[in-house]
């Protein structure tokens, strides 16, 4: 039986500071929800798995021309972070000077709370 982790559940957990992945019951592939079939083996047997939130920056950018509604936040950094469990996650960078950012730099997950919205973010480890 596949245990579906909905986006709602993922972000509720994230709001409380916990990252949730899913692990394939057949091949062990770890993914970020939501997902039905395992992209690696096509099985449909996910189990939720806690992710410890630690990882390193795989790539990053500093957004200086933001979309509408984000003007006060710019410039800000967005990074793809490779987590220790092997999956990656994109998020906002918090509390790291923009000119100190480097590919390979260790970071740790923390939620960025914006009223009702929860945004994945990463700060110093």
């Amino acid at each position: 039986m596949s245990k579906v982790v909905t986006l709602k559940a993922f972000f509720e957990e994230a709001r409380a500071g916990r990252l949730t992945g899913i692990r394939c019951g057949r091949c062990g592939e770890i993914a970020i929800p939501p997902k039905e079939f395992c992209p690696a083996c096509q099985e449909r047997a996910w189990e939720p798995v806690p992710l410890d939130g630690h990882g390193t920056i795989a790539s990053f950018t500093v957004i200086r021309v933001p979309p509408r509604g984000r003007a006060e936040e710019a410039p800000y950094a967005v990074a793809v972070v490779k987590l220790n469990e092997g999956v990656s996650l994109l998020g906002r960078i918090l509390d790291i000077p923009l000119d100190a950012l480097k590919v390979g730099m260790p970071v740790r997950f923390r939620p960025l709370l914006r009223e009702e919205q929860t945004v994945v973010a990463f700060g110093p480890p």
Binding site: F60, V78, L89
Partner: protein
């Protein structure tokens, strides 16, 4: 499957227009139909592309609107949307309709109008082509996506900002030769390097502009093509996808969908990268051209920046890329771009490109990428 050919092309001037998307498309389509030498009555279907008309113009149901403004309101129409690859996706499906024997004459194209919108609104609507659950809330933008690609390419291969700047300089040099281009002026390496940062390491001159414009092509069965002036044959047309989520890209320094679509198109055509004489590819950002020249098999992974620096991709070089000026200088009306790229390759293969003509071009490749590298289309065309 039946052979399919392009027999007519039309492109509006790219830049700012005080006309609706439907008007822009209809002008290009009327030019394409007249270029094809067929009656408007001969058109059996319209495959129409537009991306942000729902957001910017509050206009849906755009297919019949476009056909109505063109003056052929009774044909079947469908609107396509695959972000920036929109009208190339429409093109591929139209090719299949003719190859399958359903129709003999089909009109394909698209239009976009965004210069009437504030820049932050256009930036927001373009970002809708990224995932709305993780990525838009994090504040990612369209330049931001390719900045992530650029940073990964620089870290893995040592690609430099100067090499990226060479792409912009080259495409502006080509655009200066194209009377339809939004920017018809050359720029210097220094101007690119000193331009304002948009999303590090990408600067203003690494980015294509916002553009209004329309483009259309008429495609037909072999039987109809045999009666036309200078048919250009479609050897292959393929699409591929990659995960919509940036966090699921296996390697941010590559665009795997480009590699998959190229392999499929080459297989259909029975040709390889060494057979290609001229290329129109998706240089929405300078790094995108570098990565595309690698993914399409023209240069080894990691050497696309060197190719740009050495001038191999300029007019007169080993493999001219984006003789039209590309998205960078010709402009990027996103819903029209794929059709406009096909139109340029057809013009090149007909030897009608004037001062930007690639000498002796017989086989051309069109590459169009959608949004966050999740959609790519590749088509191969030939004059023979």
């Amino acid at each position: 499957m039946r052979r399919v050919a392009v027999i007519g092309v039309g492109v509006t001037k790219f830049g700012k227009h005080e006309r609706t998307c439907a008007e822009l498309f209809a002008e290009a389509a009327a030019d394409a139909i007249q270029d094809a030498g067929v009656s408007p009555r001969a058109i059996q279907a319209l495959y129409y592309g537009n991306v942000v008309g729902g957001e910017g113009d509050r206009q849906l149901h755009m297919g019949p609107l476009a056909a109505s403004v063109l003056g052929i309101p009774t044909i079947p129409t469908t609107r396509f949307e695959t972000a920036c690859a929109t009208s190339h996706a429409a093109f591929r499906h139209a090719v299949m309709e003719i190859a399958a024997g359903v129709s003999d004459v089909v009109l394909v194209g698209g239009a976009e109008r965004v210069l009437n919108l504030p820049t932050d609104a256009a930036t927001e609507y373009f970002a809708y082509a990224s995932d709305a659950t993780f990525e838009q809330p994090a504040g990612i933008t369209f330049p931001g996506v390719f900045a992530l690609v650029a940073r990964a390419h620089m870290a893995k291969y040592g690609t430099t900002e100067e090499q990226m700047a060479h792409v912009a300089v080259k495409n502006h040099r080509h655009g200066a030769l194209n009377p339809k281009a939004q920017f018809q002026k050359e720029i210097t390496l220094e101007q690119v390097m000193k331009s304002a940062k948009v999303a590090d390491p990408l600067k203003l001159y690494d980015c294509c502009p916002f553009t209004d414009g329309g483009a259309a092509v008429v495609i037909v069965s072999e039987e109809v093509a045999r009666r036309s002036r200078k048919p250009v044959w479609i050897l292959g047309s393929a699409a591929a996808s990659d995960s919509m989520f940036l966090h699921e890209k296996k390697d941010l320094s590559r665009v795997l969908a480009t590699e998959r679509a190229a392999q499929a198109a080459y297989r259909q055509a029975g040709r390889g990268p060494q057979d290609v004489d001229v290329v129109e590819l998706h240089d929405c950002f300078t790094i995108a051209e570098i990565v595309a020249t690698e993914g399409l098999g023209f240069f080894e992974p990691g050497t696309g920046g060197i190719a740009a620096e050495k001038g191999w991709t300029g007019l007169g070089g080993k493999l001219p890329v984006n003789p039209s000026g590309g998205l960078k200088a010709k402009g990027h009306p996103i819903g029209a771009t794929g059709a406009a790229q096909v139109a340029e390759i057809v013009t090149q293969l007909r030897r009608e490109a004037g001062p930007r003509q690639v000498d002796g071009a017989k086989v051309g490749l069109v590459h169009t990428l959608g949004g966050n590298t999740a959609t790519v289309l590749v088509s191969l065309l030939s004059s023979e």
